[in-house]
């Protein structure tokens, strides 16, 4: 099963490597990992997408909690939540493809944020599936470069991850 684990961690040097080191040392999967400081810069929030049986996910959350610098861990995918990912795609945009790319971007509610005579950079936000289907919908030969942030997520309503 796919799980989205969110955690708050002290914003200190080396803290991230404790998290990633734990995953490799114990042979847990990481599908994606995002990290950035929160509104309180003494803390960072990490979102990890991992795949594993319930037992393994339980161990992952326990082991993460055991790390001294980890303040709180929540499996946000246990209940209603929102996931978003940001993707930037650089595509070839020449000839008839130029109009087609613009149209595709509009259909997926993307934004063209860089334009040259031959290329566009399209910015797209959404859940993983939406970004995947955008890639699927494009002619592969026209994709020059893609970059994705990985998933970040938040619980719906009153479910709040805060110290």
């Amino acid at each position: 099963m796919r799980h989205v684990i969110s955690l708050l961690i002290e914003n200190e040097a080396g803290a991230l490597s404790r998290v990633t080191g734990l995953f490799s040392a114990r042979a847990y999967n990481i599908e994606s990992l995002t990290v950035a400081p929160t509104e309180d810069i003494s803390m960072s929030r990490i979102t990890i997408v991992s795949v594993g049986s319930d037992d393994i996910i339980e161990q992952i959350t326990k082991q993460l909690n055991k790390l001294i610098e980890v303040i709180k861990v929540v499996d946000i995918s246990e209940a209603a939540h929102i996931e978003r990912e940001l993707m930037l795609v650089k595509v070839r945009a020449t000839g008839k493809d130029r109009e087609e790319m613009k149209r595709m971007s509009e259909i997926f509610r993307g934004r063209i944020i860089d334009v040259t005579e031959t290329t566009y950079v399209i910015e797209l936000t959404g859940n993983t599936a939406k970004l995947d289907s955008f890639i699927e919908a494009l002619d592969r030969s026209l994709i020059l470069e893609t970059v994705r942030t990985g998933v970040c997520g938040i619980g719906r309503g009153d479910r709040i991850l805060k110290v």
């Binding site: 961690i9 002290e10 040097a13 080396g14 490597s17 404790r18 080191g21 040392a25 037992d55 339980e58 161990q59 326990k62 082991q63 909690n65 055991k66 001294i68 610098e69 980890v70 303040i71 110290v163």
Partner: protein, 568 residues
């Protein structure tokens, strides 16, 4: 007052009432050694190899309730210490390791004796710190001691760049530590404790299984009280020996790969299992699938939530400090006035006694060659069960665990988790320093002892009268046993040719050495050795090279699939 970083380090150690620091000097820690030199509250023990320093601090910690302290230099000082740190980590031993680091400006430049200490030790410490700002030095050391000792204990490393130890800063030692990200649970959940009591009262075939947690949390007394209150059988893991008096009739021996027949059978066939400060590891329960075949209810008390339901699904998890939780259970039992299922438990004991009747630790007592089991039995008798016993890793370790009856906690020091050969002698040094005048025996093999034999020199320097009980069979015995049983008698590289003359070797270090070759001489030699209170005596026992450790559960097999001694 304004102090240098090095002065601050020493002041912190004094504030923590550290008696001994085990270490080895080098470039990056010279300022710290200079300050050690100028005072006499914290005593330094100069080892001969950094691995020895960490094991010695480890032995010191295991045999007391204190934190062990080691001090090493950067680069190779740290890498040599890693085996010791990993050993302590696997067995959850409270320890603070202070390491020197190259000056902050040199970090990352491949400087002389530079190594990424925090990176290298990260997976084998409870936590580690690199102190880049001298203003954080005192509070970091305070945190290190607090982390090492609290919750599930473990080694904590503080890496101090050389320039930080030379800088100056106002010193004030913090009185307390508070960390928002670290709050170990002490009190067990009362609802869960009630459920546990209910299960214990309903049990027809109860079993209590306890591990190193009982020793580490000083819960032996509370455990003993609870076992007697319930009248249930109890088994200890290798790490938990001494957690319950081995001479008590409720004790069914150690369990696991080389556990007793009765302990393993009872463990497998019980209907309610109370696990206390133990972690169901592979050497203890064998194959988890096999273990799970028999339906039973499991109550698991541990301070570390990640130890619970890791290898075996648990029905009643209780996170908390063992003495607190055991006390709560005892009190609840006493207050309720209910008694366990007397008739059923009696029948269960009858079954256990039947298993016990198999006498699985039987060995050939008429042998003309010295049997290792006999040496340990005599060691037990001669020391009246009062010795502090350290061991290395292999057959001798198992024989010591099986045949020395530990009635008290903190008397048995061995590398259970990591299985580190070379642990025994340096650990014994730490134990002897912590308990001057007490009998300390290091049970070892000719393979293991040579992995840290340089520490014989340290023993001379500090006059540590450790008694080395070398069970010399000329083989890496446990490897040979596996090769005999599972690899078609092909003894690949398990025969150690060209062994030194251990008597002359110990004499050259300034100690007393004795070679014992006949069973009739064993007792006399041991008596003579322990009579020499001020001497390190190295006893080289020529034991039967064909002797194996039984019972044995092969790796990956179920607990009841034991190979028993041919004597049975």
């Amino acid at each position: 007052m304004v102090l240098t970083g090095a002065e601050i380090v020493i002041r912190c150690l004094q504030e923590e009432k550290v008696e001994y620091v085990f270490g080895y000097p080098g470039g990056s820690v010279l300022f710290i050694y200079d300050e050690l030199f100028k005072q006499d509250k914290v005593r330094h023990v100069l080892v001969r190899h950094e691995q020895g320093a960490v094991h010695a601090a480890d032995g010191y910690a295991r045999s007391t309730e204190k934190v062990g302290v080691a001090l090493v230099t950067s680069g190779p000082g740290v890498t040599n210490a890693v085996t010791g740190i990993a050993t302590a980590y696997m067995d959850s031993i409270p320890m603070v390791i202070i390491s020197g680091q190259v000056p902050t400006a040199y970090i990352g430049q491949d400087a002389f004796q530079e190594v990424d200490t925090v990176g290298i030790t990260r997976p084998c410490v409870k936590h580690n710190f690199l102190v880049k700002d001298i203003r954080e030095l005192a509070s970091t050391i305070k945190k290190a001691f607090y982390l090492a000792k609290s919750g599930r204990p473990g080694p904590v490393l503080v890496d101090i760049p050389k320039d930080v130890s030379a800088m100056k800063c106002e010193f004030a030692y913090p009185k307390a530590v508070s960390m928002r990200s670290y709050n170990p649970v002490i009190k067990g959940h009362q609802g869960q404790i009630k459920k546990a009591v209910q299960l214990l009262l309903e049990a027809k075939r109860p079993m209590i299984y306890t591990g190193g947690g009982v020793i580490l949390s000083d819960a032996a007394e509370k455990l003993t009280k609870l076992v007697r209150q319930l009248g249930f059988p109890v088994t200890n893991t290798l790490m938990g020996l001494g957690g319950y008096p081995a001479t008590d009739r409720h004790f069914v021996g150690m369990l696991g790969m080389h556990g007793t027949y009765e302990a393993n059978m009872a463990m497998q066939h019980c209907d309610v299992l109370l696990a206390v400060g133990a972690r169901f590891d592979d050497r203890v329960i064998g194959n988890p699938a096999n273990f799970a075949e028999v339906p039973r209810k499991i109550i698991h008390i541990d301070i570390d939530p990640s130890s619970i339901s890791k290898r075996v699904k648990v029905d009643v998890p209780i996170v908390g400090d063992l003495p607190e939780v055991l006390d709560d259970i005892s009190k609840l039992l006493a207050a309720g006035g209910d008694r366990p299922e007397e008739k059923a438990v009696k029948a269960w004991w009858k079954q256990i006694d039947e298993w016990r009747g198999k006498d699985c630790l039987k060995y050939d007592r008429k042998s003309k060659i010295i049997k290792p089991q006999y040496v340990i039995e005599k060691l037990y008798e001669v020391t009246k069960g009062e010795a502090f016993v350290t061991s290395d890793v292999g057959q001798h370790q198992m024989w010591a665990a099986q045949y020395y009856k530990f009635d008290k906690p903190r008397r048995w020091m061995n590398s259970g988790g990591l299985g580190t050969m070379g642990f025994g002698l340096p650990a014994a040094m730490g134990v002897q320093l912590a308990h001057p005048g007490a009998p300390v025996a290091c049970v070892t093999g000719e393979g293991s002892i040579q992995m840290c034999i340089q520490e014989l020199s340290t023993c001379k320097q500090y006059r540590l009268p450790v008694k080395i009980i070398l069970l010399n069979n000329g083989f890496l015995g446990m490897v040979r046993q596996w090769q005999q049983l599972f690899h078609g008698n092909r003894y690949a590289e398990s025969y150690v040719d060209a062994l030194p003359d251990f008597v002359r070797l110990s004499e050259s270090y300034g100690h007393v050495g004795m070679r014992v070759e006949k069973p009739g001489d064993v007792e006399g030699a041991l008596k003579e050795a322990f009579k020499r209170k001020d001497d390190l005596v190295f006893l080289d026992f020529a034991i039967d090279p064909t002797e194996n450790v039984y019972p044995m559960v092969q790796g990956g097999k179920g607990l009841t699939e034991m190979i028993l001694s041919e004597e049975l």
